[in-house]
Subunit: 223 residues, 2 copies
C-alpha cells in the first residue's frame, strides 16, 4: 500500500518564551522538525511526506529539508487557519490510494515502531490512533461544575493518526467544527470507528522549555 | 486554620528500571521526597506533615527527615494496600479541625503558590483540587469501542487535593471502591463538590527516567 505522512506544524512559539516556532527549536543542534521527518523517512522506504507549514515558515522548512534530506520524498504545502484546514490542504497532495498518517510536527520523539503499529492497524481496520493511559485523574467540566471519569477508561490520544485515504479524504469534505481537535474526530463524524493502538509515553509534544531537555535525554538514550 | 499535608508514597520503582522507589531517587543529589517535603514546610510555618510510607520504607523515610528537616513538624505512618487505605491511615493522625492537603510524594515539583491556591480555595469551598488542560485529545473506552470527549471540557487532575478535615475524615469512613483513584472521588462519594483551581504543568509525577532530567531542569531554573 502507498504511504503518506502529513506532518502538520502550527504554533507561534509564544509558550516557549521564544520567537522561534517550536518545530524549529534545536535539539542536540538539529531542529525538532528534523527528528520528526527523520522518523517517518526511516520507517518505510516508500513513505512520502507532505509537510504543512504556515506560509511564513515555508522558507525555513525548505532549508531544513535541503540541509538534511532527500528532497524527492518530501513536499511542502501551506497550512490553513486551523489544524483542520492545514490537514485539508495537505490531503490535496495525496493523489493515490494509500494509508495516510497525520502527525504533529512537534512530536519529534515518535519512533518507527509506533509508526509501524499505526500503519498496520489502519491497513487492517481503516483508522488507527495511538493511545496511552493517563497518569493523572481526569475530570470533565460540566454545566453544574465538574465530574470524575473512571480513569481506567481514559486514553490520551497521540499522533500519528492513520487512515485509509479512501476514508480520510472524503471525511475532510465536511464543514469545519470546533470539536475537530484531531483527525480522529473528523473521521468519526464521517462514521468511522477508531482502532486504538498502544502509544508511547515518550511521544510528547514539545511545548515547554523543559520538554527540550526531556527530548534530548530520550534521543541520547536511543543512540 | 490548622494545616496538614498528608504526603502519600507507594510505588515499587519498577517503571524506573530501578530497585529504588521513585520517591527516593536522587534529584541534584537529594531524594525526590526531600523536595516534596521542603515545598510543604516552606509554604506555611504552621503546616504539619504526615508522611505515609510502605512499612519497608519507613526507615529510609526517617533517615531523610533526620538528615534534612525539623522533625517536629513531620510524622510518619504506615501505608495501606491501596492509596485509599494509605490516606485513611494518614488521616488518623489529623486530630484537630484543619485543612488537609493530600499530595503524591513523587510530585516533587509542587511549588508554594500551588499549595496556597489549594489551601485558600479549600478554606472557602470545602474541597479544592488543581487542574490543568490536556495537551492531548482524550477518549473514553466504551463497551462499543471508544469515543471522543470535548477537549475543552477535559481537565487533568493533580495534587495537592485540599479539603476541610471535617469533610474528608468522615468521607474516608466509606468502604473502598476501585473507582477511588484520588481523594476527590472519595469526597465526591460523600456528596462534596470539587472546586477546580489552576494547577501547574510542571507539577508532574516522577515515573520515568527522563522525568528526573525534566525535574532537575525545573529545579535549576528556580534557583
Amino acid at each position: 500500500m502507498n504511504k503518506y505522512a502529513v506532518i502538520v506544524a502550527g504554533g507561534s512559539g509564544i509558550r516557549m518564551n521564544s520567537s522561534v516556532p517550536k518545530q524549529f527549536l534545536l535539539l542536540k543542534n538539529k531542529p525538532v522538525l528534523y527528528y520528526t521527518l527523520q522518523a517517518f523517512l526511516q520507517s518505510y522506504a516508500d513513505m512520502k511526506i507532505i509537510l504543512v507549514l504556515p506560509e511564513e515558515h515555508i522558507a525555513i522548512g525548505q532549508e531544513i529539508i535541503d540541509a538534511y534530506f532527500d528532497y524527492d520524498r518530501i513536499r511542502i504545502t501551506i497550512g490553513g487557519r486551523t489544524r483542520f484546514h492545514s490537514v485539508q490542504n495537505g490531503l490535496k497532495l495525496v493523489d493515490e490510494e494509500s494509508i495516510v498518517l497525520v502527525h504533529d510536527a512537534v512530536r519529534c520523539l515518535v519512533d518507527v515502531d509506533l509508526i509501524y503499529r499505526c500503519y498496520e492497524a489502519a491497513l487492517e481496520f481503516g483508522a488507527a490512533i495511538p493511545a496511552i493511559a493517563s497518569k493523572d485523574s481526569v475530570r470533565l467540566v460540566t454545566e453544574e461544575g465538574n465530574e470524575a471519569v473512571e480513569r481506567r477508561n481514559v486514553r490520551l490520544i497521540q499522533t500519528p493518526q492513520a487512515f485509509l485515504s479512501t476514508v480520510l479524504i472524503p471525511a475532510y469534505n465536511i464543514d469545519y467544527k470546533d470539536k475537530f481537535t484531531d483527525e480522529a474526530t473528523v473521521a468519526e463524524a464521517f462514521g468511522m470507528k477508531m482502532k486504538l493502538v498502544e502509544g508511547n509515553e515518550n511521544n510528547i509534544k514539545i511545548t515547554l522549555p523543559p520538554d527540550i531537555i526531556y527530548a534530548e535525554y530520550i534521543l541520547d538514550s536511543r543512540s
